[in-house]
Structure formats: C-alpha cells, structure tokens
Symmetry: D2
Subunit: 324 residues, 4 copies
C-alpha cells in the first residue's frame, strides 16, 4: 500500500528528496539510494539500503518508483531504463543533455504506452504560482496579454556564462510560463547586459502574448523569483517571499532566502506528495517528458539567439496526442 | 510502523482532520471515526471503520492514537479515558468546559506519568508565528516589550456575546502570546465597543511586557489574523495573508479568506504531522494539557474582567515540573 | 496682497517654519524673526528683519500674522498678545503649559470675537490622514468602531518619563483621533511597560469607539507613525512611509526617517500654506484654540491615570458654540 | 520680485497649470491666459487677463515667463518666439511635432546663448523617482544594470495605435530612463501584443544597461506607473501609489488613480515651483530643449522599429556643450 521509492544521486537535491520521502511524504517510504560517493549515499540512506549501482536499484522488487537526481548527463538513460521496467520516475530537470536526447525519452514513453516520467519543474507545485493560474482560469484578470518573470540568483561562479543562465535558470521560466498561460512559444529576442548578466529574454506565444524574463545571476541581495501576469481586466503576481515582516535598523520589510531550496521547500514537498499519489494510482501529474523536452528545445534555441543576437523563431513540434 | 489514528467527532474540523490524516500525514493512517451523526461519520470515514461509540474507538487494538474533535463539553472526559488507556490524544481546543475541569485532565496526565495530551492550538505550527518566535529567540528584535494581536472574523451570529469572543477566539491569542513571549500573564484590562464587539484586551506579563489584542467578530471584510512583536531593537510581524497580489477594479493587494480553515490549513497539516511524529516516538509537542488549562483559566478571568469592567489580576498557579 | 509673516522662536521647528515661509509658501513672505539667541535669529532671518523682542515683532505694521515657535511656556502669553492686536497666529503645540492656561487663550479669543489661533497639529495636513478621514466620511469603512495608533520614536533621552511621552508625543494622537473620528473622549486606561516605555493607552469615545495607542519612545529602528481605523465594513490605514522600496543585503522594503521633520515635511508645508490662505481670507482652519485646550486637558488627565494606574473618566467640557 | 507668468492653452493640463500658479506656487503670480476657446480661457484666467492671441501674451511687459500647453503642433513655434523675446518657457511635452522641428528650438536657444526652455517631463520632480536617483547616486544599489519600467493606462480610445503609445506615453520613459541612469540609448527592439497593445520595448545604453518598458494602454484597472532600477548590489523601485491601505470586501491594499493628473499632482506642483525659482534666478532646471529633442528623436526611431519589427540602432547625436 505504501509506495517504495529509491533515489539515484544524493547530492544537495537528492539528499533533500530522500529526506522529504522519509519525513514528509504520506503513502511512500524510502527503500534506499545510490550515489557514486558511497559515504554520501550512506548519509542520505539514513539506515535504508545503499544500492551498489543504479540498475540494481531500478530493478529491485522493493522499488516501486524512482527519483532521478544524479548528474544531468545520466538523466535520459536512467529514465529510459525505468520506462523499460515500467516504473514511474520523478526526474530532476533537465530531462536530458539535449533536446534530441530528451526526445528519445519521449519516444520510449510513447512506445511503452503509459506516462511514467515526471520532470522536476517544482514551481508548478508552488502555492503562489498555483494561485496565479487559478485566478487566470477563473477569469480574474481577463485574457492574458503579458507575463513578466524575474529570476534573480544571489551570485554565480565567475565562469558562469549567459548560456548557462539559460539552460540552468531560464528553463524554469520556460516551463512555468507555458504552464501558467497554457500557450506555446513562437519567437524570442534577447538583450544581454555586460558579460551576459543580466539577460532580458522576450518570447511571444502563438496567441500573441508576450513573455518577458529578467535573468540575473549576480543580484547579490538574495534569491528572488517573481512573476506578474497581466490581463485585459487585471493582473496577478506572486506575493512577497517571506512569512514575516521585520523593522530594524531604519528599514522595514521582507527577507530573501539565499537560494532556491528554502524558497521552494514547500513546492518540493508538494511535488513529491503529488507524484507519489499519482504513481500509486497509476496516473501522472506535473511536467511530462514532453514538457521536459520542450523546455530543453526552447532553451537550446534561445541560446542560439543569444549567440546570434537576432530575433529567432522557436520550433519544437506539436504536442503528441499521447500527452493531451 | 504506521500510527493508527481514529477521530472522534466529524464536524467541520473533525472531517478535515480525518482528511488530513488520510491524504497528507506521513507515518499515520486513519483507522476509523465516530460521530453521533452516522451519515456524517460514514462520509468522514471514507471507507474506514465507523465505530459505534467513542469508547470502543478508544479501546480498539487498531487505534494507537486519537483525535478528539467532538463537542467541547466532551473533551475532558474523552481525554481522561484516553489517558487511562495510555493512548496519545490531539484534542481540539478548548481542553475542557472550565478551567477546573481542565485541571482534572492535567492531574490525570501527571498521575499517569507521561505526556499524552496535545491541545489543538494550531497557530504554534503556522510558519509565520514560528518565524516570529525564531526571530525573537535569535535576538533579532532585542528584548520584547509589546505584542499587539489582531483577530478579526468576518461575521458572527447575532447572539454572539463578548464572553464568547473571549472563550472561542481570544483563547488563541492567550496561547500564542504565551508561546511567542515565553511569559506568563499577570493582569488584564478591557475596553469594549458597543455590544462588546470589538474588544481591546490588554494583558501584562510577569516581565512587564504588554500584550494588547483586538478581537472583532464582525469585521465583515474577511478573516484576518495579525500579530506584531515589538522589541527594544526592532519588530517582527506576520506577513500578508495571501500567496498572490492582484490588481483589479482600481485596487491592488492581497485577498482574505472567509474563515480560519483556509488561513490555517497548512498549520493544521503541520500540527497533525508533528503530533503523529511525537506520538509515534513516545514524546510530546505543541500545546500541553497545562497550556490548555492555562488558556481556559485566563479566558475565565478575562471574562470576569469584562463583566466587572475592572482591571484584574490573573492567577492560574505555577507550571508543574512535569511540564517543564 | 502677500501676507507678511514673522516667526517668534527659531529653534529647529521655527527655523524650518521660516524656511518654508521663504521658499515654499505662496501668498506670504517672511518679514522677520525673533529669537533669544541672536545668532540663531540672524541665520533664520536670512536677510529679513531680526526683531529685538517678541512684542515689537507682534506690533510691527509690516507683520500681518505670527508663527509662535518659542519655548512652550511662552505660547499662551504670546498668543493672547496677538489676539489683543487682532493678528492671526500659528502656534506650535502645545497651546499652553497647562489646560487651565490654554483656557485663558480660548477665553481671550472668544472675547475678541473672531478665530485667530491655529495650533500646529500638523498631522491634520498629512495626505495619509486626510485620505483616512475622506474614506471614513465617504462611508468607505462603515461606522467606525476602533482606531489603533502607533507612535514610535527612535530614541529618547534617559531622563524622559512616561508623563513626557504623553504631553510631548501622545498629544498628537489625542488631536488626530478626535479629528479622524469627529468624536470626544470619555475615558482612559493605561498599561505601562518597564520604565513607562512603551505605553498602551486605551481611550473610549462618547459613541463607544475605542482608541488604542502605542507610544514607544525608544523603538530604535526609526521614527514610525501609523494608524488604522476599523469600521463595520472595512478598515483604512496609513500607507508605508517611504517613496521607494529597496532590496539590499537579504532584505527588501521601506526605509524609516530619523524623526518627525522628514516624515511630516509635506504636512508642515501644507499646514503653512493653508494657514496663510485662511489668515489672508479672514477665516480659520486646522486645530483651533479649543482643540489645543482639549489636547492639553486630555493629556493632563491621562497623566493622572498613569500615576494612579486606574481607569479614569475624561472631562473637559463641551465645545463652545464659537468653535462650531 | 514675484514672477509674472502667463499660460498659453487652457485645456486640461493648461487649466491645471494656471490653478497651480494661482494657488500653489510661491514667487509667481498668474498674469493671464490665452486659449482659442474664449470661454475656456476666461474660466482658467479666474479674473486675470485673457489675452487676444499668443503673441500679445508673450510680448506683454507684465509677462516674465510663459507656460506653453497649447496643441502639440504649436509648441516649437511658440517656444522659438519666447526665445526671441528672451523669456523663459515651461513647454508641455512634446517639445515639437518632430525631432527635426525640436532641433530648431535647440538651435534657436543655443543661438540665443542662454537656456530658456524647460520641457514638462514632470516625473523628474516626482518624489519617488527623485529618491530612486538619489539612492543610485549614493551607491545604494551599486552599478546599475537594468531598469524595468511599467506604464499602464486604464484605457485608450479604439483608434489609438502602437505608434501613439510610443509618442504619447513611452516618451515619459525615454526621458526618465535617461535621467535616472545618466546614460544614452543606443539600440531598441520591440515585442508587440495583439493590436500593438501592450508593447514591450527593450533599449540598451552606451554602458550596456538594459532598459525594458511595458506600455499597456488598456490595463483597465487604473493608471499605474512603476519602475525598478536593478544594480550589482541591490535594487530600488517606486513605492506604492497611494497614501492609504484599505481592507474591504475580502481584499486589502492600495488604490489606483484614474489617470496621470492625480498620480503626478505633486510632481506638477513641484515642477512649477522649481521652474519659477530657476526662471526668477536666471538659471535652468528640469528637462532641457535638448532632452526634449532626444525624447522626440528616440520616439521616432522606436516607432520605426515597431513598423519594421527589427532591432534598431538609435542615433541622435551628442549633447552640445551648451547643455552640459
């Protein structure tokens, strides 16, 4: 009755996923973990099994479903292995190293005939984004015309490039924008600051909606994600990012977290609970393999636009009926 | 390994507790329910057992722990029965119909020798209040000098009295103020508006801190709970009550819920998870039977101050070492 | 056509009044100033006349109207002298050293037969308070039931007493509360923190409205004045105290001024313009001598309540028809 | 000593300028007005002179300085006439019907040898924008990298085009962005929503700063202008647009004005006072004729980019030393 889940890759996110499974997820239990670093694996296992390799983990009879949080380059292969064995997967983003590779997962899943892959675009489970979507769908802002996203990291390593900003950070805005609007992107143009940080990336959708996104990897003051959706009858935006308001030293207001882990802690927990519920019930929720492919495909084409400094058409094919 | 929990009383809060147990609580499962209204019981049971009476529920071998959300008058008796059988209880507030009766639960628990009772003052599990306490304890506002609480309900029945405002609503501020400050109350004075709504209740603590609370049962615009803790070096307050900010019809801002259920939904969930964790581990968390007694004792004395319209000393004895 | 104005007393506020008259007040010009400190007077005069004493200033043919911002003890005598000569006065608060003395100004003005005295309760000219009053009068919050004021100074000298908090700071809340509500106060009770700072002062009006005020002279983090007016259909409160929102060092929000001068700079300017306009037109605006007397009378009785620590009835007579 | 000012054109803005001159501007008096509509002129004159034509107004000995708020097509010619007579001008934006024509005013002014023209980009006198600039100049946000502007009107006529959005509304962002950053614009790219409303206009400066602006003429919910300046060490943004916060009908927050007149009322007043002060002292402040030309030149080139839908280089020459 309780879903047996194992975690492949126990770095920062993987260890957190293992903890969430052990402590905060109803209907599931942690069977065990695998990590190339045995000590790290033992710590995250917290007394459960440490598997000797990913494949024995996936194949284990006690493992009903798998969380893939290993290095990005392994995501697609591991996901396909899980599909072969018919086991549900929660795969950290990105789904694959390239759009082409992501498509192999999509094809494997379609061939298998049932949705097994969920990509870890956790913002879909954030209460703020969910309320934004609910307000839009309820007609609370009329027809959407513009979505403005802000994605600020406190700081990035010196070697971080604009391309990395797109494939590491902007993919979140790609996914959440498609999800909030229910629209597909058709074009993009970019303005890049010095050293390609910040970027202002402006996409448009098939319906003519504008999706503008500020990506700033060295905002210094904290980790800050914001979004405002503007419609013909009003707007809806994410609320402030903290539970309290403080007055101190001549200033009053909110505080920002250092990074995405505390900011989206509740979204990660809810994502895990919903995935377990869906996996237990044989259904699917969250970002699909197709959504994972689209995020990667758009990111690749936006990267090309950054290099060419030209407005570019976005092409990534139509959603297969399988994912309707 | 999974804690078997049963719910006595499946009114609005009891049915919600049963749902949270079934869907959102790791480490526990709903064994069954009892309610005087059989149809209501069946609905809340959702396929689990409907017990014929509270005592068979409490005595059942499959029931490891009990949620008491039946009518207030039954809380103390049921809690004592659970204590006799050595089973942990999450009892909706109030713990008893009177301070004197609450004391019988305290005495029974002390006689039993182990903490088994948690009273459902769920605000202690609200992320905002928890952050306020954390900020205070970390020295973020210096020494506290004043706590101002606001407790506004959208509307109350016409027959609602000032006394009911105190015993139904203000008890939450009694408990959360003691918890936030770690202080005991020593006096109270009250100002009452027309028809005793609103009330402005001003208590002071043994340390001289002022705790002022506005209770307004007919605020009309929504359910709104707020608190600001003022210290010698700064203040910390609850953040705004909604996940999004909306602009519409000439106005922009937050939205308020209709009542406490959506406002404290996450606190109820966290309370249940923490209670299950503590009960499973043989420990205790949250508001104790002693805290439940103190809330009732203060509420009774504040009620007397409302009748007499005089500043009053508050007396409720010292916390037994058992609850240290 | 332009009103000739002179300023008696050129300390911090008087010098600021002289500057506002020279630079920001249409329809008036600064004729000159008097101050016991000749150097200070010359600086504030900025090239206009330095009068040798207050009486020659008041009596000067070129002086049409007088700003009294000399030491508190001189306010009443100087105001009465101006009344004798039939010249309009803007008198800094308080109007007199005692309620009894304030009453002598009221009586002199009534005897004179025309309103000549305006007391410098400048909050009445603050855009925020004005909007609060406008919203109330327009029915935007229904019938008022409670007004909660917050008055925080950054820091006070060590020798500052609770009594001084009342006569120096709380008088502002007395005046603005009467003005916002259009109600008279009938009772008061006080809770005092350690060293009488903070104070929580709770008054009630003839209509049963509650007026609660936090006075905190050592809030450390800045000068912060706030007010929320609660009615049966909604509430209206002052907006945040700064023109910009800043994100920096992990925090985001408003900034607070050091003291009341920057906070109420615009209110002081508007007060001066409106006073000049009224004085030029032979009419009156702002807080009257009667309002000045009432503020002093209530402050005295609140001080007594602080000493006796008892709930106290407030008595200050009925407004003479002259001030209707 | 008092500056004699006359107003040409007494439509909505001109009548407001005349009122501000009569009631709220120290150091100046309204001499009279001219308007093609005699009744409208008489109303705005409020008892002062109604001139028979603009030229007699400009030439009048009693007129020291002129406010030009007549139809746009007349601005440049009237401004040049004032320059010929050596009289200071506050000219409503735009300075001319085209960049080329604006340049004729610039040239006339340089030939005259003294700055006489101020263009009415009133946002430079808004307390919020001034504080943003002060914070930037004080190093409060480090080196700027991005400025995001939002300019929402409640509604526009059906025949309003994207080009009009640029020349009527976006010119304000052109001017304020140059002023806030102290930078010149070098390129632009545009994304246009359905019917060219909203527009997302992204410019870049010579220093690589990004200036993105949302222009939305039919935002419905109100008139809303916002700006956030992002630097390497923090950000500073305009505060909320209202003096009070209201809770009502399930929602709480700020209110928005219908249009720019109430929103920038204080900026208009301050602009007039500062202009009068500068004109009286023979100096200049605010947006110069050169700034007026640049705003028009950029607007024209942005309009071309809207038509061509291509990223475009912006060229408008270097600021003459005369305007340094």
């Amino acid at each position: 009755m309780s879903l047996g889940v194992a975690v492949i890759g126990t770095g920062v996110m993987g260890a957190e996923h293992a903890r969430v499974l052990r402590e905060e997820t109803p209907g599931a239990h942690l069977v065990g973990v695998y990590d190339a670093d045995a000590a790290r694996a033992r710590a995250a296992a917290a007394g459960t099994v440490v598997f000797p390799d990913p494949h024995s983990l996936i194949a284990s009879d006690r493992v009903d479903a798998i969380v893939v949080s290993s290095p990005d380059a392994t995501h697609a292969t591991l996901s396909r292995t899980c599909i072969e064995l018919g086991k549900p997967v929660l795969c950290e983003k990105p789904l694959a190293s390239s759009a082409a590779e992501a498509l192999t997962v999509v094809e494997a899943e379609i061939a298998h005939g049932r949705r097994l892959i969920q990509v870890g675009y956790m913002r879909r489970f954030d209460r703020g984004y969910q309320e934004m979507k609910r307000v839009r769908e309820a007609g609370g802002i009329g027809q959407p015309v513009l979505l403005h996203n802000i994605h600020r990291n406190a700081r990035a390593p010196e070697w971080f490039t604009g391309q990395m900003s797109i494939t590491n950070s902007f993919v979140h805005e790609i996914d959440i924008s498609r999800w909030l609007l229910g629209s597909e992107m058709t074009s993009v143009q970019i303005a890049a600051g010095p050293n390609e940080d910040p970027l202002m990336i402006t996409m448009q959708t098939e319906k003519g909606e504008i999706v503008s996104t500020e990506i700033f990897m060295n905002a210094t003051y904290g980790y800050h994600v914001h979004a405002e959706l503007i419609g013909r009858e009003g707007t809806v935006a994410l609320g402030p990012p903290s539970f309290t308001i403080t007055n101190r030293n001549g200033a009053g207001g909110v505080s920002y977290p250092e990074n995405w882990v505390p900011r989206f802690q509740d979204a990660y927990r809810r994502q895990m609970s919903q995935w377990v519920k869906a996996a237990s019930g044989g259904t699917a929720t969250g970002a699909s393999a197709w959504d994972g492919y689209v995020a990667s495909a758009i990111a690749e084409q936006v990267t090309e636009a950054l290099v060419s400094r030209r407005a570019t058409t976005l092409n990534y094919g139509r959603r297969p009926a399988f994912y309707a």
